[in-house]
């Protein structure tokens, strides 16, 4: 941000974000072209030679096409914005505060001469907050600030404490919020700096404020606007004391914190029965309901195919048990049912071959052995199969192969 404190702050931000956009997407485009050369073109050549690589080709197109289109689109946008800065989103955003050139000049002047605080990507000047990201500059007018507080999160990896992270959270008139992560003291400095230029903003976290923001946002905004107007009307000397008088949290009263009715007894948090029931029965977001619906649909599809698979698993287990008690006839019948469902399942085929050999069923054993041909089996299993074949030959009075 040090470079940002110059006469052309806004233009510098426009250039910076546009440069980042062009560099990143230029690299992505170059990577895309490199992949076309080393991956896509060789695939095409192999396919032209008669190789069956349609799946690989589809995968290459599915990856490269969106990557190429998005990168090319962003590079094009970057080039257009470099030629004409007035179409840049930052410049267009200025229009909502008045004549863009005039607003830009005001902002540049404020940044150059009156900046109050710089903290990482955040710059606080009278009337404005600027928060820069790699591809954007968030511009917030102080009159749009409604609520702010400090958030501390304790981190843990397993049972080991991994320190705390701190954020200054700002809620805006639009309903959106801005989170500024910084060190503990830096967050305090940020909030103090903002409070010094916008003393009407509700400061500090309270569930009452959160509830009001979520459910009665219009009322919340109207209250803050009223406080702002009152403070602006007052002379400068009175403003400071008036700001101090603004209650950040109300005195505790024995009433429901949501609606003011008589609270339910037996709870520490004061809520009436209706409000408690409503908060306890908080609804799930629509997205989660939709995702759950999709999962249950997939589950239903999967369950519809379960009975034959479950029967096969049960038959396999029954075969194993029959084999363990040397009932090879029953084992053979059980394994045969499994093989009918999973014809290439090596354990089932091999157990069927072994059981058929010991049961003296040469035809079934022959079929099982022929299905095993070309499939990979372990050396131990091969030895077991040869031993079973010997047993079958002995039973049938044949010479060993």
């Amino acid at each position: 941000m040090a470079k940002a404190i110059n006469e052309n702050f806004i233009f510098w931000q426009v250039k910076r974000t546009n440069r980042n956009l062009l560099v990143l997407n230029g690299l992505s485009l170059a990577g895309c072209l490199w992949l076309v050369v080393v991956w896509f073109l060789p695939l095409c050549r192999l396919m032209a030679g008669g190789a069956r690589l349609s799946d690989e080709l589809i995968a290459a197109i599915a990856i490269l096409a969106p990557m190429f289109l998005v990168s090319a689109w962003n590079v094009w946008k970057g080039v257009v914005r470099a030629k004409n800065v007035s179409v840049h989103p930052i410049m267009r955003r200025l229009a909502q505060y008045g004549e863009p050139e005039k607003v830009r000049a005001e902002m540049d002047s404020a940044v150059k001469d009156f900046w109050i605080l710089r903290s990482g990507p955040l710059l606080v000047v009278p009337q404005w907050l600027f928060y820069q990201t790699a591809f954007n500059l968030n511009i917030i007018a102080t009159k749009d600030l409604m609520w702010m507080y400090k958030k501390c999160s304790s981190n843990q990896i397993g049972l080991i404490p991994a320190g705390n992270t701190y954020e200054a959270i700002f809620y805006l008139r639009s309903g959106k919020n801005l989170k500024v992560a910084a060190a503990d003291k830096a967050v305090d400095q940020i909030l103090n700096a903002v409070y010094s230029i916008a003393p009407w903003v509700v400061a500090g976290f309270a569930y009452e404020s959160k509830t009001m923001w979520e459910r009665k946002r219009g009322e919340f905004i109207a209250t803050v606007d009223k406080r702002r107007e009152e403070l602006i009307k007052q002379p400068a000397m009175q403003q400071e004391s008036a700001a101090q008088e603004i209650p950040l949290s109300q005195e505790e009263k024995y009433e429901c914190r949501e609606c003011g009715k008589e609270p339910e007894k037996g709870y520490e948090y004061l809520l009436c029965p209706a409000c408690r029931s409503r908060l306890a029965a908080r609804k799930l977001p629509a997205g989660i309901k939709a995702a759950a619906g999709v999962i249950f649909l997939l589950l239903a599809v999967s369950l519809s195919g379960l009975p034959p698979v479950l029967n096969a698993a049960v038959d396999f287990e029954r075969g194993r048990r029959a084999e363990a008690r040397n009932d090879y006839l029953a084992a053979k019948d059980a394994y045969q049912k499994v093989v009918e469902r999973f014809g290439k399942h090596v354990p089932s085929l091999s157990r069927l071959a072994v059981s058929a050999c010991y049961a003296g069923d040469a035809e079934t054993a022959d079929k099982a052995f022929s299905k095993l041909e070309g499939l990979k089996i372990s050396q131990d299993l091969a030895r077991e199969l040869y031993a079973a074949l010997d047993k079958l030959n002995a039973l049938n009075g044949q010479e060993q192969p």
């Binding site: 990896i157 809520l271 029931s277 799930l284 989660i288 589950l299 379960l306 698993a313 049960v314 396999f316």
Partner: protein, 177 residues
């Protein structure tokens, strides 16, 4: 060591179900919920902020809710997919998707150490009946073991165990009929 955030991202359905389970038990116990985050990039990956429950039993139930819900839900989801994948090596895309969902959800069955702390505070309370203390103390120990064990992938082993165990038990029972 892989950062917890990446593991949470790979298994995000488990985090969501974990928080829904807390919320569900808050609903059953009529405990007001102030804020819910089903998933985010950070530690913790999700959270439910609720008022202090009226009774110790409610507090314990809300704490161990995810253990019950995640375990049962994971077993149910992975059940139809586990047999073709694990027993017959013949799973299709849907089977592998359900298996991933099952393992992800079961991996987040263990209550977090924050949950364990809440349960432990409830257990330590003088008003807690002795029987509840006796039943719950080992559970808290198990939860801490699960939290420590996540460093050696105990949660993953638990997840795989949950999705394998259900079908295996059913197959063994049916084979004996």
């Amino acid at each position: 060591m892989i950062p917890g955030e990446f593991i949470a991202l790979l298994t995000f359905p488990g985090v969501i179900v974990h928080e829904i389970a807390h919320q569900l038990f808050c609903r059953i116990c009529r405990v007001a919920v102030f804020d819910v985050c089903y998933f985010r990039w950070g530690n913790p990956a999700g959270y439910v902020i609720h008022e202090k429950p009226r009774t110790i039993n409610q507090q314990i139930l809300i704490g161990i809710g995810p253990f019950l819900v995640n375990t049962l839900f994971a077993a149910l989801i992975a059940f139809p997919a586990a047999i073709p994948v694990m027993d017959f090596d013949s799973g299709n895309f849907l089977d592998y998707l359900l298996m991933w969902l099952g393992v992800s959800i079961a991996m987040h069955a263990f209550p977090s150490t924050v949950d364990a702390n809440t349960i432990w505070q409830a257990v330590k309370n003088k008003q807690t009946p002795l029987l509840v203390k006796i039943l719950t103390a080992p559970l808290v120990g198990l939860i801490y073991l699960g939290a420590v064990g996540s460093m050696i992938w105990l949660d993953l082993f638990y997840g795989v165990g949950v999705i394998m165990l259900g079908p295996q038990i059913l197959v063994n029972v049916l084979a004996g009929l």
